[in-house]
């Protein structure tokens, strides 16, 4: 049951392959264990059916859907105006992006023009949201690795500030409903921008602090280096996107690659870690991404133009012209797409969400194969899965 035994098993198997004699295989009972749906580190209600040989995972099956809330069905049975308020709940850590994906798709179909100030505001809140999402990931990932008490709540200090910004501008801390079809909900006060500016100034230092604690920590390195190596080819075949894909060495970021909104006007780099594609690279990709987001926010604050913020009337009569289209934004977890078929009425004919977590999670079984139990958390955590985003 210990690693010693499994090492023996491995050795015996190797030998058999090598010299191909009649050595009977050393057979052990496999243990099937249900990880979840109620488990401290499945980040919600994910169930993994693991087949273990000792502590080594032989086979994994993901059972998802425990948090299925029929978001697509609701979209088809609610008016556009009603549904806008619901979609933040798809990915509760980055609600701005789900709103944005929906709005982008609807605006593309509708041909609606979004005022420039609204576009800048969208980028601003989205990047803030990206930072807050990555900060939460950082904390919870450390919990997954077993640093249960100290560090995990440290990034929450900064995240709390961001949530306060959102509360001020959108009225809610998590379910913002701020980005609307045709613009944004409301224009923040001048003092708000000043606060955000102060935040960005000190945030780079805070990332340095986190890195000082985590990045070169020997135990952290031991737990993350060469663990859960995700090859470029596998990642692309599984449709993995976001920092997880970029850590495997594919410089695929929608903000750069298929620029939308005002991203072409902004200067930033897409951090790519083409070393191994292991969990440590994924960690580094996210940390660097936070720095980049911080830079983007600084630029946006400088470039923010005056003007309108909304072109469409926000009431129950909100309609989108007939047509179909797919639009995607780069969420903290990857490509968050929305496929809409509209028939011109007050409800959509068909909604389909393309969630980054859904595709990113599907790569988990091959990553877990032949890894010890403890690595499950290191690998699973590094993929940054949000279960509501998977289950919708």
């Amino acid at each position: 049951m210990t690693s010693i035994q499994s090492a023996c098993v491995r050795k015996v198997k190797q030998k058999k392959v090598a010299i191909d004699t009649q050595v009977p295989e050393f057979k052990t009972d496999e243990m099937i264990i249900n990880l979840g749906p109620q488990h401290p580190s499945t980040h919600g209600v994910l169930r993994l059916i693991l087949t273990l040989d000792g502590e080594v995972v032989k086979h994994t099956e993901c059972v998802i859907g425990h948090l299925h809330r029929a978001q697509e069905w609701q979209g088809q049975n609610r008016t556009w105006f009603q549904y806008q308020a619901l979609i933040d709940r798809v990915d509760y850590l980055s609600g701005m992006f789900t709103s944005w994906a929906l709005c982008a798709a609807a605006e593309k179909i509708d041909g609606a023009v979004v005022p420039e100030r609204a576009e800048y505001l969208r980028v601003l809140v989205a990047e803030l949201n990206r930072i807050s999402s990555h900060l939460l990931w950082l904390g919870t990932y450390l919990i997954d690795l077993g640093a249960l008490y100290g560090f995990p709540f440290y990034p929450f200090i900064e995240r709390e500030k961001i949530l306060t910004f959102f509360e001020e501008v959108a009225g809610q801390r998590m379910m913002y409903n701020y980005i609307r079809i045709g613009g944004v909900q409301r224009d923040p006060k001048a003092s708000w921008f000043k606060k955000v500016e102060e935040f960005t100034k000190q945030f780079a230092q805070r990332i340095d602090e986190y890195e000082a604690i985590v990045t070169e920590n020997p135990i952290f390195l031991k737990r993350t280096k060469d663990v859960g190596i995700l090859n470029k080819e596998v990642a692309m075949a599984y449709g993995v996107t976001g920092p997880t894909l970029r850590a495997s060495g594919v410089a695929y970021d929608l903000r750069r690659f298929k620029p939308y909104s005002v991203y072409p006007k902004l200067e930033f780099t897409v951090p790519v870690y083409n070393k191994h594609g292991d969990t440590w690279d994924r960690y580094m990709a996210r940390v660097q991404e936070m720095r980049e987001s911080n830079e983007i926010i600084k630029q946006v604050l400088d470039m923010l133009p005056e003007g309108e913020i909304m072109t469409k009337k926000q009431n129950a009569g909100l309609r989108v012209k007939a047509g179909e289209g797919f639009a995607a934004v780069e969420s903290p977890r990857g490509v968050l797409g929305c496929y809409i078929i509209s028939n011109g009425s007050d409800k959509a004919y068909r909604f389909k969400w393309r969630n980054p977590s859904f595709s990113n999670l599907s790569v988990l079984p091959p990553l877990l194969e032949n890894r010890p139990l403890s690595d499950i958390m290191a690998i699973f955590g590094s993929l940054d899965i949000i279960i509501p985003d998977v289950d919708r």
Binding site: T2, A147, Y149, F151
Partner: protein, 463 residues
């Protein structure tokens, strides 16, 4: 500017008041049972009364431990939560009682009143026995230490134990049986894996732990905790962490230099370091070795009591709660209590074995209280009160008081260090843990053992 100075102040007040409560409670019980009742019954002509007074004296150490452990564990839990909150700039528990002081007491009451569940398919007898086996050794382990940390107070000499440290180590090796038993009896796969991990881990880390202690015993030349503690008296230079007595000569030489009375310095040095350069090398080697040994002891102890970064048996993010997943109510409370008590006991062992026991860290020549010019006026001022308390009713025993105070301070520093580690480090993986234990710690301790055995020969110890 410290950002959370207010929190630190609150925590200090909290710690001070809790430690006072612990001190007063334990010493109050001991004084009542060990001194007052026997004193009242001593002149009685009835055999029965005298027997009662003897029994009272005999059970005092046990009583001290029994009173100390639950109150202390309550404070440790509270302190851990508050300190961790401090590290992360949160508010810890601060609602129950004044500034959250009674939070853990409330938790304890809740746990005692909670339904005690035995899962289906569990081996009920073993399931009940496991927390007891886990907890009982910590009481037995604490008893020999009691005399060592109270400056060999007559009250706490339970028995003449020439193998004291061995007794403590034997007691500390039993809890793993409780963990395996609980893990197996729970009829839960997570618990079972926690138990198995615990067995593997405890066996691997027992070896460097015991070897580091044995090396110190080799230096001290005895297995008796009381005499090991006594050998180290006289300031930090005499402690085992700095050469295990190798620097005693230096200490004496400086004292001789300052006082300018007594034997000449050269003579002192000649007595302690007879081989010149060889002795110097020996001193350096011993100092380095003992410092490394202290580190190894701390690592081994962390692994032995399953604390982060070695908390694999109860790895929360992997095994839910490991071996105590299925436990609830009072059984869980006992597991919890024992965990914190074990932390306290291994810290106390470290204090007694490495950090001088109840010794003041200042060397005698640096300690103002050791100069007659200071302590004579002080005692004159305080004598009316002190003489009443010390001589008349024996409420204060100065030796015991200072020793216990220093031990508590040192032990809680180590506990604080353990909390700091808990608040900083992630967890090892099981194979990395075994690698680290067998391939690093065991060889290092073996090498140090040999080095110490040789270096010991070139220095005169405990002359």
């Amino acid at each position: 500017m410290i950002p959370n100075a207010a929190e630190i102040r609150k925590l200090s007040v909290l710690s001070f008041s809790w430690l006072t409560v612990i001190f007063v409670a334990v010493w109050g019980v001991c004084w009542l049972v060990g001194i007052l009742i026997p004193a009242l019954l001593a002149n009685s002509s009835f055999d029965f009364a005298r027997a009662v007074s003897e029994i009272c004296e005999a059970i005092t150490p046990l009583l001290a431990v029994m009173v100390f452990i639950p109150i202390n564990a309550m404070f440790m839990v509270l302190m851990e939560r508050r300190v961790l909150a401090l590290f992360t700039r949160r508010n810890g528990p601060n609602r129950v009682g004044p500034d959250g002081a009674l939070q853990t007491a409330a938790d304890a009451i809740k746990l005692l009143l909670k339904e005690d569940i035995t899962p289906t398919g569990a081996d009920a007898a073993m399931f009940t026995l496991a927390p007891i086996i886990f907890f009982a050794p910590s009481i037995f382990g604490a008893i020999p230490l009691l005399a060592a940390v109270t400056n060999n107070n007559k009250l706490f000499q339970i028995a003449d134990l020439p193998t004291g440290i061995f007794f403590v180590l034997a007691a500390s090796s039993i809890p793993v049986v409780g963990i395996v038993m609980g893990g197996w009896a729970s009829n839960n796969k997570y618990s079972l894996m926690g138990g198995l991990r615990s067995a593997a881990q405890a066996i691997s880390y027992e070896i460097p732990l015991v070897l580091s202690i044995i090396t110190i015993c080799l230096l001290a030349g005895t297995l008796d905790v009381v005499s090991i503690a006594k050998q180290q008296s006289g300031g930090i230079l005499n402690w085992n962490i700095l050469g295990g007595g190798a620097l005693t000569g230096l200490n004496k030489a400086i004292a001789a230099f300052i006082s300018s009375a007594g034997p000449p310095i050269a003579e002192v040095i000649k007595t302690y370091y007879p081989y010149g350069w060889l002795s110097l090398i020996g001193v350096i080697v011993l100092c380095l070795c003992t410092i490394i040994l202290f580190g190894i002891y701390l690592i081994g102890a962390c692994a032995e009591i399953n604390r982060i970064p070695f908390d694999l048996p109860e790895a929360e993010s992997e095994l839910v709660s490991g071996y105590n997943t299925e436990y609830s109510g009072i059984k869980f409370a006992i597991f919890f209590l024992a965990e914190f008590t074990n932390l306290f006991i291994v810290s106390t062992i470290a204090v007694v074995m490495f950090l001088g026991g109840g010794d003041c860290p200042l060397p005698t020549w640096l300690n103002p209280l050791s100069y007659p010019a200071v302590y004579i006026p002080l005692t004159n001022i305080l004598s009316p009160i002190l003489s009443l308390l010390i001589d008349k009713i024996h409420l204060i025993n100065p030796d015991t008081f200072w020793a216990a105070l220093w031990v508590i301070l040192k032990t809680y520093s180590l506990v604080f260090f353990a909390i700091l580690v808990r608040g900083t480090l992630p967890r090892f993986r099981i194979d990395q843990l075994m690698d680290f234990g067998w391939k690093r710690l065991v060889p290092i301790t073996l090498v140090i053992f040999v080095l110490v055995a040789f270096a010991r020969g070139v220095i005169n110890f405990h002359v």
